[in-house]
């Protein structure tokens, strides 16, 4: 028996920079160390700035999920100022967030995931595709290649819908604290309805059908990439004047039991990360021995938890299945379908009128924590403010949960759990199998690796 250490890097077709080191014994993956290899330090960047800048600044953490950060920081500011959010503002906010999520799911499936399963044309950027077990009939394969190029338009139309109301995308402008600055006028609503009808048709006729085809041809992936039965969601699509009612419920699903998540049970640690903890702060140290990532370990009640569309669909009872690679892919496509339906409904309920926004002048609180589910799972922002300036800002992203490195007790994060134990069925298939397992989590390393605990920061 000889074990080999292999560095799978770069893991292409995702947002950001990821390297995964695996230890392989014969045909079995014994261990996996998933490493985010970029550091940005947003919590430090936020310190000393006006808290009102948080929406536009934190959106710049991420390109593919920018409004996720904009939404959560808006909720945080709503709480600090004690704003009242109108029903029309909530419809508009959820329409914008849903459009960004649809954009993400379509692009993930076609641009990032598809070349793991489908033989792409032998031209840039697809040259060098290592696909040793292409299984689709040439007809189905061609269908999916065609849909890769059709998804270009569908995903662009999602961002066009977002920009109609938000001014631009990524990094929209109008979804801010107190509501939405833009008027949901009749002309914008009718344009958005035309766009969602196109996108919905694409999701229904292409994305869903292609997902079915993949899940049949690669049904063994229902047994590959499983994680322990620990799933978490903070709930998604907030309504109510205080953002207090998520349309899709929050939950901690562990061993079949469902409970409500509590912020105080969340903890972070840095034993495998390129940080040193000193004086209540985590400072980056890329030379730290034994560390392999800029992502920190995030735990709930001391255990790693998986989050994302699969967690949401299982917690809400929209999907029955396991926690495998193909379950992850299937749940994301199913969610895209449900969101496209919701978007249509919300666009009918949105009432044409003036900008649904009311901002108060002064914060009434000094601390706030906001959390909601977004594209990849639960996103949490937490801030302490002194006279309108940021004293502390802390962010815990879904990718930090899913790509948590090993904790001090050796617990593997969800993606590492999914990789460990995987069987490589033949020569030349290592990268293929690893790539499929990793991408099904939809990693976003731009988000994952800026996490830096500011002094004394505690979620309450």
């Amino acid at each position: 028996m000889s074990q080999k250490r292999i560095m799978f890097s770069p893991v292409t077709r995702l947002s950001g920079l990821l390297s995964v080191e695996v230890v392989v014994d014969g045909s079995r993956v014994m261990e996996a160390n998933a490493g985010g290899t970029m550091f940005r330090g947003f919590e430090l960047i936020m310190r000393g700035r006006s808290i009102n800048d948080a929406v536009y600044m934190t959106q710049r953490i991420c390109g593919i999920c920018s409004l996720a950060h904009g939404a959560v920081s808006s909720y945080l500011l709503d709480d600090l100022y004690d704003h009242q959010i109108s029903e029309n503002a909530q419809y508009l906010r959820n329409i914008m967030l849903a459009a960004d999520i649809l954009q993400n799911h379509i692009r993930h499936f076609y641009f990032f995931s598809l070349p793991d399963y489908v033989r792409m044309p032998a031209q840039p950027p697809f040259e060098g595709q290592e696909l040793a077990d292409a299984r689709l009939s040439s007809q189905d394969n061609q269908r999916m290649v065609n849909n890769y190029f059709r998804s270009v338009v569908a995903s662009q139309e999602c961002h066009q819908m977002l920009a109609l109301f938000g001014g631009k995308a990524p990094h929209q402008h109008s979804f801010v604290h107190g509501g939405v600055a833009v008027a949901p006028s009749a002309d914008k609503i009718i344009q958005a309805r035309a766009l969602i009808n196109n996108v919905r048709q694409f999701v229904k006729e292409s994305l869903i059908v292609d997902t079915e085809l993949l899940s049949k041809a690669y049904s063994d992936y229902y047994n590959i990439g499983r994680t322990p039965d620990r799933l978490l969601s903070f709930g998604m699509f907030r309504f109510g004047d205080k953002n207090q009612y998520p349309l899709w419920r929050s939950g901690v699903l562990e061993g079949g039991r469902l409970s409500s998540p509590q912020f105080m049970l969340i903890s972070e640690e840095v034993s495998s990360s390129w940080y040193v903890r000193a004086g209540g702060q985590d400072l980056p140290d890329p030379h730290k021995q034994g560390a392999y990532t800029f992502i920190k370990s995030v735990q709930y009640r001391g255990q790693p938890f998986e989050m994302g569309p699969l967690a949401r669909m299982l917690i809400n009872g929209f999907y029955r299945g396991g926690t495998s690679t193909m379950d992850r892919i299937y749940a994301r496509s199913l969610e895209a379908f449900l969101i496209a339906e919701l978007l249509r409904e919300w666009l009918q309920r949105l009432v044409p009128g003036p900008p649904p926004i009311r901002q108060k002048n002064n914060p009434v609180k000094e601390r706030a924590t906001a959390a909601t589910d977004v594209m990849r799972g639960a996103l949490l922002h937490s801030a302490r403010v002194t006279e309108g300036q940021v004293a502390e800002y802390n962010i815990i992203t879904p990718t930090a949960w899913n790509f948590s490195p090993k904790g001090s007790a050796g617990q593997r994060g969800p993606a590492e759990s999914a990789l460990a134990g995987a069987i490589i069925p033949g020569p030349g298939l290592l990268n293929t199998v690893l790539g499929r397992i990793i991408r099904a989590f939809d990693p976003c390393i731009n988000c994952g690796t800026h996490v830096l605990r500011a002094k004394g920061s505690e979620e309450s």
């Binding site: 006006s50 710049r60 060098g128």
Partner: protein, 330 residues
Amino acid sequence: MQKEDFVKLCRTLSISQDHTLSAQVLPVVQKYRNNLPDYKLPVIWLETNDSGDNNIAFMNTTYPYLGQVLTDMIDLLYSNTFMAAQGKEALYKLDQAANRLSGKFTLVVEGAIPTGENGLYTMIARTENRNITALEAVLWLGPLAQNVIALGTCASFGGVSAARPNITGSVGISSILQREVINVSGCPVNPDWFVGTLAHLLMYGRPELDSLGRPTLFYGFTVHRHCQRRSYFDSGQFAEKLGDVECMFSLGCMGPRTGADCPYRQWINHVSWPVKANTPCIGCTNKDFPDGSSPFFTPLPEKSSPANNDGQPESPALKGAENVTEENNV
């Protein structure tokens, strides 16, 4: 077909009511295109320290759409975002493209370059033996490229990645390369600015650049000069809150100090832009973004004066005239 024949063909057929002209001309154009050597621009695209927003912005291009750009305009030989190859095969593709097309490829860098800790704050890849930092990769590929494009404000000037306190020592790529860099700034870039720059390189060579290395075609006028709300500014009517219809100079708008054609071009199939969404421009194409625009909702004269504002032209604030070429590109 010779030029004279082509003109004659167009003249002869221009009076016909049906599509005879298109039917005759299109195949000729197609044939001409197919015969052009090296018609597509070979591109190596590095993602370094950024949010990945510029590759998403690129996916949002319309006319041409992404599929057309990838098929007809460029050969995207290395791209962390799009390439099918992964792991060592991807690095092999990078090495092969750099060697085979040395002096011919266009290098696109998306993101700032952390210079602290020998660049270890961003590694584009790792092998069993070593780390390949963004710093090393850009220093290697920069001198080999025919053109270098800094895509977005992080790559152009450091941007949000270099915002204070900048503990990673992040800089724009022109700070580490001893050569011309075309800065296509924006947070993110408007896809038209990027695809337009690629098209210019492909068809007409290097575009004219402003003092900050940006194509004047897109950045030559201030936002303020062409803003739809300019009449409110000129008559002294200012917005009191977000959602108002008047000029948002009072709400921190950076338009007077920001070179970009957003008021004309707009975003995402040209449907809107921040001012149209009743929010101020935050100057995301600027050399000192975001620190020079902070706080975003505080009027320009009262914004915190950033220490790292070197090289930025003094605020032409109310004139809106500096930074402007007189030639009309609009």
